[in-house]
Amino acid sequence: MTNRQTETGTSDGAILECRGIERRFGGIVAVTGVDMVIRPQEIFGLVGPNGSGKTTLTNAITGFYPPNVGSIRLAGKDITGTAPHKVAKLGVARTFQNLALFNGMSVLDNILLGRHIHMNPGVFRTAFYWWAAKNEEIENRKIVEEVIEFLQLESIRNELVDGLPIGLKKRVELARALVAEPQMLILDEPMAGMNQEEKGYMSRFILDARAERGVSVLLIEHHMDVIIGICDRMLALNYGEMIASGIPKEVVKDPRVIEAYVGGSHG
């Protein structure tokens, strides 16, 4: 944990700062003593074997399961225990490991929902659409179309999400998160089940999103090649505890990370 000191030392101006996070479910400690600092425009990798607490940590940040101990700050503002829809309004967008798209809606409507926090829908606006909602809808549609073009989703714009292949669904979900124009983007295994080519596309999209939109990214992944390829720094968890953090190339050489992932000394 050689980089730990430098990491905790640079919390000024951090976009996301988690301190001493602990979350228990009954008697099970899912995450304990986790510190994580993400700097602006950084792509930060979070790895660990299944059940190591990666998703629990994201759920703590986004407010689904607030931490029992510890604090979370977003751009200096304490958001510990804030309800998910409020966290979203503060500029955190995320995708889900098992996808959370609305299957009965078109791709376009799904992505438009990502604009929800920038819109102000209501009963009167709906009733008086032509005078009260039309301009807002069209303005937001333009922003959505920019992201649709960016992620090359034009051809499936009007299709129902239900029938799309998994790779495209993941891309639609990324689009929905991006149109919210978040400060912090949390991607929970965006490349699970993808082949090498799709992974390449997705990695490129994440890098471009940072370059063009200036988002900071927390990336949960099992594909080490992706983590090493695009992450600036990373954190490895095992059994809910931090086992290593720092530059990806160094972290993956850490004996504890190797042991956690590959297993003990098989000789």
């Binding site: 929800h116 069209i138 919210a180």
Partner: protein
């Protein structure tokens, strides 16, 4: 055939967010609207008042229930009670001397307040439990209505509705009543059509489909559930008030009993959850088919010279109509609206769909 996508190019977002993107849909809607406008001159007043008028008002009411059940996904078995609140509030206001325009709004708002109380139950419980909670609230409302003489005039009393007057005009003719119902139904329909293309509609569907995914997008499901109940209750209240003012002329508690709640829910489900045209068709089926079947059976038995006793005659329409509901839901669980949609989709590509097979 009829429906064509070829040659329809939306070159800007305004055009792409029109209510009817396919010309055939638009033409059909205009045709139905014009027919509705001309109906008093085309139909005998018996049909106008005993079929068209209740059909339109119940459709407006069903669309309101569709908003909360079809869009927001909250099962509601106390809808008739909410309609009763609107009906009684509006009539009391009108009797008190409030102009009808405001009396109707008062009715709607009173329903909104009571209906939002239902929403607080919805925030705690889901599915069957919510159905039971709303059902219990229906019984409470029934009891309150029949046991408070100040509201309903007592358990067997009925409340006379004052003469309807809108925009300074007394409305007493059949045509006048019809146009009031028609106007209200058009307003509610336009609202529901707009709901399909605005953020509110999307947020409600999001809450219905996956509330955790809605939350991460910043949709406060608590707020939107209440909003859905409040808006739907407003529609219920005004529809209930208009039903009494233009159709029943007397308000009595049994007009808004639990059986009516279930009937409106049946209209929405047979018509199709989340389908606007479906609500029209569903109401038509539930409201008009029993009478139609009755006429056919009576006429048929007479022309065949068969003697059917009165009791059997009364039961046949119910049996046929029950069977019809079962058959429709077996063929298409999403109701008549989806059946219409299937036909439309088929015609959209006809005859070229043959090439794919």
């Amino acid at each position: 055939m009829f429906y064509r996508l070829s040659g329809v190019h939306h070159a800007n977002y305004v055009s792409d967010s029109r209510i009817f993107k396919v010309p055939a849909d638009r033409n059909l809607a205009i045709f139905i609207f014009l027919f509705g406008l001309a109906a008093p001159f085309l139909l005998p007043s018996l049909y106008l008042n005993s079929y068209m008028l209740p059909w339109l008002i119940w459709t407006a009411a069903a669309l309101g229930l569709n908003l909360v059940t079809g869009w927001a996904g909250q099962l509601h078995l106390g809808y008739a009670a909410v309609m009763a609140v609107g009906a009684y509030s509006a009539i009391h206001a009108a009797r008190f001397g409030v102009p009808w325009e405001f009396a109707l709004i008062i009715g709607g708002l009173a329903s909104s307040v009571i209906g939002s109380l239902f929403a607080f139950a919805a925030l705690r419980v889901k599915g069957l439990y919510l159905a039971l909670t709303t059902l219990a609230m229906q019984f409470v409302m029934d009891w309150v209505l029949t046991h408070s003489p100040a509201i309903s005039g007592g358990s067997h009393a009925s409340l006379q509705s004052p003469t309807l007057a809108l925009l300074g005009q007394d409305i007493t003719s059949d045509t006048g009543y019809y146009y009031v119902a028609f106007g209200w139904c058009v307003l509610v329909t336009i609202f529901m059509l707009n709901l399909k293309r605005t953020g509110l509609g999307r947020a409600l569907v999001a809450v219905r489909e996956k509330d955790f995914a809605a939350a991460i997008l910043g949709v406060n499901s608590f707020y939107y559930k209440i909003l859905a109940f409040a808006a739907s209750s407003f529609i219920a209240g005004v529809s209930g008030a208009l039903l009494v003012a233009t159709f029943f002329f007397l308000a009595a508690p049994e007009q808004f009993s639990v059986a009516v709640s279930i009937q409106v829910l049946a209209m929405v489900i047979v018509g199709g959850l989340g389908s606007i045209i479906g609500s029209y068709l569903g109401v038509a089926l539930i409201l008009l088919v029993p009478g139609l079947v009755n006429g056919i059976v009576a006429g048929g038995s007479q022309s065949l010279g068969m003697q059917i006793n009165v009791e059997t005659l009364a039961h046949i329409p119910n049996a046929v109509y029950g069977a019809l509901i079962v058959i429709i839901l077996l063929i298409e669980p999403l109701g008549l609206g989806k059946l219409y949609g299937n036909i439309r989709d088929y015609l959209m590509v006809w005859p070229f769909d043959q090439l794919r097979k």
